[in-house]
C-alpha cells in the first residue's frame, strides 16, 4: 500500500490544538507563574496549554492516517433552526419574559423538520409553553417572569 495522503480532519484538528495551546500559553503566561512551591494563577493553565501543543503534535505524528468516519452532509436546516431557537430564547427571555421566549424557541425549533405542518407547530409550541410553565414555574417553583 502506498503512502496514504494526509488526513485533512486530523491536520485541521491538530493545527487548531497547537494554535489554541499557543494562545493559552501566551494568555496564561501573563498571569503570575509563581514557583513550584507557590504556584501562581498562571502555572497550571500554562501546563494545560503546553499539553495541548504537545498532544496536537502527537496527533500529527501518530494519528495522521487514522481512517475517519464518513462525513455526512452538514444539517444546515437543523443548525439554523435549533441554534436560532436557542438564540431567540436568550434574547427574548430577558427582554420580553419567559412565555414569549419558550414559545419562540419551541416554534422555531419545530421548523427544523421540513415536513412539520405550521399549524401543528403552533399547537405544539403552545402546549410546550404551558407545560414548561407548569413544570418549572409551578411544580418546581422556579422564579420566572412570565411577561416583562
Amino acid at each position: 500500500m502506498s503512502r496514504s495522503r494526509p488526513n485533512l480532519p486530523a491536520l485541521i484538528g491538530a493545527g487548531a490544538a497547537v494554535l489554541f495551546g499557543l494562545s493559552i500559553v501566551v494568555v496564561a503566561g501573563s498571569y503570575r507563574l509563581g514557583t513550584l512551591l507557590a504556584m501562581g494563577p498562571g502555572f497550571f493553565p500554562v501546563l494545560a496549554g503546553i499539553a495541548l501543543i504537545v498532544f496536537g503534535v502527537c496527533i500529527l505524528v501518530f494519528e495522521r492516517n487514522v481512517a475517519m468516519p464518513v462525513a455526512s452532509a452538514v444539517p444546515w436546516r437543523g443548525i439554523i433552526t435549533i441554534g436560532g431557537a436557542i438564540l431567540s430564547f436568550a434574547l427574548l427571555t430577558e427582554r420580553l419574559g419567559f412565555v414569549p421566549a419558550v414559545f419562540s424557541a419551541a416554534f422555531i425549533s419545530a421548523l427544523a423538520d421540513r415536513e412539520f405542518p405550521l399549524r401543528h407547530a403552533l399547537v405544539l409550541a403552545s402546549a410546550l409553553t404551558i407545560g414548561t410553565w407548569a413544570i418549572f414555574g409551578y411544580a418546581l417553583g422556579l422564579q420566572f417572569e412570565a411577561f416583562r
Binding site: L37, A48, G49, E63, G78, S109, D113, A121
Partner: protein, 498 residues
C-alpha cells in the same frame, strides 16, 4: 455508632416515599430515554441537573443514577426491535437481537435481556456494597499526591483505553482542563480567562458544557429523521416472550460471564458499560462451541453484553464514590452534582455520609426490581413509544435545554456558552475527536490543580513527592505503562498497515 446503624438509616431513607418516588421517576425516565434512539443518557442527565439542584442530594443521586441504569435496561429494546441502538452500550445487542426479531423471537430476546440486565445489576451492586467501604477505608490514607496521581490515571485511562484515537482524546482532555480553569482562581483571587466580563467569574456552567457538547449535536443529528418499527405492539404477547428451556440453558453461563466482565470494566476507572458490552460479546464468541451462530440470533450474543453493561454501571460507582475518580463522562456529571451540593466524593464520603451511601446502594436494588417489573408487562408501551416521530421531540428537548441552562444562573451568557460548546461539539465530531474526555477534563481540571498545589506545598516544591509516596508511585507507574503500551500498539498497527 455501630457499623450497621448507617445501613439501617440508609434503608429507612431509601424506602421513604420521596426516595421511592424519585427512584421510580428516574428509572422510568431512564428506561424511556434508553428505548428512544436519539435521546442520550448524558443529555437527559444534564437536562435534569438544574432541577436536581433544588433537591436533597440523596434524592438527586437516586434519580440521576436511576436514569443511568434504567437507560441501560431500555437501550436494548430499540437495538432488538429496530436494529438501532438506544444507548451506546446496547449497540452490540443489535448484532444478535435484531436477527432474533426477524425470526419472530423478539419477545424472547426482550425478556432475556431484561433478566440478564437484572442479574448484572444485582451482582454489580453487591460488589459496590462489599467493596466500596473497605476501599474507602484504605483510601482514607490518601492525600493530595495520591489524588493527583489517581486523577491523572483516570484521565489517561479514560482517553487512551476507550478509543483508537488516544491523542485526539488527550487534546480534548487538555481543552477541557483549560475550560475548567475559567473563572476566579480560588487560591490567589486572580480571574483567569474571563477577558473582563463578570459573568465568567464563577466559571463556565457545567450544564452548559454538557448539554452544548452532547445534547445539541445529538438533536442536530437526529432532527428530521423518521423511524418506523416493523413490529406492531400487539405482536408481542406475554406468552410469546417465554423462552424455551434450550434458551435458558444457553443463557445462564453467558449472563454469568457477562456480569464478571462488566464488573471488571466498571471498577476500572476510564472504562464503562460500552467497552464492557463489547468485550463480553467478544468473549462469548471466542468461548462458544459454534461461533458461526453469532450475528444470526444467538441468544448468548445478547444475554452476555446486557448483563455486562448493567453490572459495569453499578460497579462504576465504586471508584466514583470512594476515590472521587469518575470512570466516564456520566460519572463526571454525577461528581459535578455532588460537588454542587457541597458533598465531596472521595474516601471521606462514606465515612461522613454513611447513611447516604447506603441509601443510594439500597435504592439501586429497589430500582433494579422496579425495572424488572416495569419492563416485562410494559414492553408493548415501549414499542408504541418508538413510533413517536422525532419531530415532536425536537422542540420539547430544545425548550428543556434552554430552560434548564438558563435556570441555573438566570444569565443569558450561559445560553451563549451553550451555543459555543455546541459548535465545539459539532466540530469535534466532524473532525473525529471524542467528546467525553473534554467533559472529564472540565470536571477534573480544578481538582487536579488543587491537588497539585497541595502536594507541592506538602513537599515544599519538590516534585519527587509523587514518586516517594508508594501508592502515588505505583499509580504513576501505571500511567506511564499505559501511555507506553498505547504508543507501542499504535506503532505496531501503523507498521502492520504498511
Amino acid at each position: 455508632m455501630g457499623p450497621f446503624d448507617n445501613l439501617a438509616a440508609g434503608f429507612a431513607i431509601a424506602f421513604s416515599v420521596q426516595s421511592l418516588s424519585y427512584c421510580l421517576l428516574g428509572v422510568t425516565l431512564g428506561n424511556i430515554v434508553g428505548v428512544l434512539p436519539g435521546v442520550g443518557i448524558l443529555s437527559t442527565i444534564a437536562m435534569l441537573l438544574p432541577i436536581t439542584y433544588y433537591l436533597e442530594p440523596t434524592h438527586a443521586i437516586i434519580m440521576l443514577a436511576g436514569i443511568y441504569y434504567g437507560a441501560a435496561y431500555g437501550g436494548s429494546t430499540a437495538s432488538i426491535l429496530l436494529n438501532l441502538p438506544g444507548t451506546s452500550s446496547s449497540a452490540i445487542t443489535c448484532l444478535d437481537g435484531y436477527p432474533m426479531t426477524k425470526q419472530g423471537r423478539a419477545g424472547v430476546a426482550l425478556l432475556v435481556t431484561t433478566i440478564a440486565s437484572f442479574v448484572g445489576s444485582l451482582v454489580g451492586l453487591v460488589i459496590l456494597a462489599l467493596f466500596a467501604p473497605p476501599l474507602a477505608a484504605i483510601a482514607l490514607r490518601f492525600s493530595a499526591p495520591e489524588y493527583f496521581s489517581l486523577m491523572m490515571l483516570g484521565l489517561i485511562a479514560a482517553t487512551m483505553l476507550a478509543s483508537d484515537v488516544p491523542f485526539r482524546g488527550l487534546v480534548m482532555v487538555s481543552l477541557g482542563l483549560v475550560f475548567g480553569l475559567v473563572g476566579i482562581d480560588v487560591n490567589t483571587g486572580v480571574p483567569r480567562f474571563t477577558f473582563g466580563t463578570t459573568r465568567l467569574l464563577d466559571g463556565i456552567s457545567l450544564v452548559a458544557v454538557a448539554l452544548g457538547l452532547f445534547g445539541l449535536p445529538e438533536i442536530l443529528a437526529n432532527a428530521g429523521s423518521r423511524i418506523t418499527p416493523k413490529l406492531k405492539a400487539k405482536d408481542i404477547t406475554l406468552r410469546s416472550m417465554l423462552p424455551t428451556r434450550e434458551d435458558w440453558r444457553r443463557s445462564w453461563m453467558p449472563i454469568t460471564r457477562g456480569t464478571g466482565v462488566g464488573a471488571f470494566f466498571g471498577l476500572l476507572p476510564g472504562t464503562g458499560g460500552t467497552i464492557a458490552s463489547f468485550m463480553a460479546y467478544a468473549l462469548e464468541k471466542r468461548v462458544a462451541k459454534d461461533p458461526s451462530r453469532f450475528g444470526k440470533g444467538a441468544i448468548e450474543g445478547i444475554a452476555s453484553p446486557e448483563a455486562a453493561n448493567n453490572s459495569a454501571i453499578q460497579t462504576a460507582f465504586v471508584p466514583t464514590l470512594t476515590l472521587g475518580i469518575p470512570g466516564d463522562a456520566i460519572m463526571a456529571l454525577m461528581l459535578g452534582v455532588m460537588m454542587v451540593h457541597n458533598i465531596v466524593p472521595g474516601p471521606q464520603f462514606i465515612a461522613n455520609n454513611g447513611a447516604m451511601f447506603w441509601a443510594i446502594v439500597v435504592s439501586f436494588f429497589i430500582g433494579s426490581v422496579l425495572l424488572l417489573i416495569i419492563n416485562i408487562p410494559l414492553v408493548t408501551v415501549w414499542v408504541r413509544l418508538l413510533t413517536i416521530p422525532y419531530r415532536y421531540l425536537v422542540p420539547a428537548i430544545t425548550v428543556f435545554i434552554c430552560v434548564g441552562v438558563y435556570s441555573v444562573g438566570y444569565a443569558a451568557t450561559d445560553l451563549y456558552l451553550l451555543l459555543f460548546f455546541g459548535v465545539i461539539g459539532y466540530a469535534a465530531m466532524a473532525l473525529g475527536f471524542p467528546l467525553a474526555p473534554l467533559l472529564l477534563g472540565f470536571v477534573l481540571g480544578p481538582l487536579l490543580e488543587e491537588n497539585l498545589r497541595r502536594a507541592l506545598l506538602m513537599s515544599r516544591g519538590n516534585l519527587t513527592i509523587f514518586l516517594e509516596r508508594p501508592i502515588s508511585a505505583v499509580v504513576i507507574g501505571l500511567c506511564v505503562l499505559l501511555v507506553i503500551w498505547t504508543i507501542v500498539a499504535k506503532v505496531r498497527s501503523v507498521r502492520a498497515a504498511r
